[in-house]
Symmetry: C2
Subunit: 233 residues, 2 copies
Amino acid sequence: MSSTEVKSWRKVQEIVLGKISARQWMPGEFIPNEADLALELGCARTTVNRALRAVAETGLLDRKRKVGTKVTTNPVRKATISIPIIRQEIEDKNQVHSYTLIEKGKYFPPLDVKAQMGLKGNQKALRIEAVHYANNRPYVYEDRWINLSTVPKAENIDFEIENANEWLIQNAPLSRGDFSFYSINADKKISKILGTSEGNALLIAKRMTWNGFDAITSVKLIYHFGYEMATAI
Amino acid sequence: MSSTEVKSWRKVQEIVLGKISARQWMPGEFIPNEADLALELGCARTTVNRALRAVAETGLLDRKRKVGTKVTTNPVRKATISIPIIRQEIEDKNQVHSYTLIEKGKYFPPLDVKAQMGLKGNQKALRIEAVHYANNRPYVYEDRWINLSTVPKAENIDFEIENANEWLIQNAPLSRGDFSFYSINADKKISKILGTSEGNALLIAKRMTWNGFDAITSVKLIYHFGYEMATAI
DNA sequence: CAGTGGTCTAGACCACAAG
DNA sequence: TTGTGGTCTAGACCACTGG
């Protein structure tokens, strides 16, 4: 027998997850092909396809044309972390956002930034340093370099009024980026800016943003002591 | 006129991204409905649907039934971070993974863990402490609590041989979870375990894993000094 | 109620890769 | 060459939600 008479792709997904979870389909093992599954479940192949695609996106299935679909041996958990505009993140907590520009000017960036941006020896970049506050308490320190070759307009923006974070999102073209997290001990300067003690462990989110092959901006966000960046799997 | 005669949903996606990027469709503005777009582009509505769905998943479009599709005003960047099995992460760097169990036993967990797991006052949980090494250098310290009500089998596993990280992935049912990053200063114990100095800033990835409403495990991964967790947007 | 996105279907053809 | 997933289509109905 068969035909559980499924209708929706979510139901199919549920069944698939069930079989994997129950080890009816073991890790490393091939599962039936789409056509057979569709027949067995009593729905269209398209529907099965949609369900399997969704499961594969979570990393639990591995699909290849001609080869088939198998259960991943080493499932990789994928967490999607959302990086909101800082002002929005603060306002979402019902706190008041404020912002202070510490520095804006053209300088030679550090070597790593320079290399990533592909700048020549004599090219400067726009340096922005700013602090975001939540209810007047330091929230995050923003240390940014903007590539003026790709975003020349940035030079004439008054970043005392517009914050760089939002301006770039609104004005730079769509882009891809690299992202990383690490932590540092607060040095004298940072501890003063963030109102914490020297040596305290601070979380850093570093991002490099590109448009095609053109680097747009490199930014380090150093969060206040005790900050926790949360997300859901 | 019209009909750019599009065929694939990827092409449609590209066109859509282009219009958003070129500000032909402004943030906050509604875009044409699927049917119209399909007509204009010369493809089936299903194809347009697929493309718009993909773009919406990246956070650039906001879709609602009956209302329509509009360009997000505050695009939230979504980074997908992959959390591999630790051994795999190390081996992918061509380093040798080894593992030491420091502690395994039944204890009363700290209050926050207890609350999250929904344990009664007299219920204990399984505590696992272990260290993973890369080329014999401490890589990450694993501080884990396992809920024996939901994973009773765990009590009898020899975690000196099997590491808890992998065993759970292989044996606990599919689940959802909360994830967060923060950082701490190494205390005496941790600094000794990870071979670093007291006070050094360490990155922590904390995860709570659930199966439906049943908590499975709560784990803190404290990485060695200088570790950087990278991902791509 | 009506308009919009969400999904399902049956059938077709395409693209990739193992043999 | 062949088997498998990837995608497209045209049409249909559903589900949500604002009016």
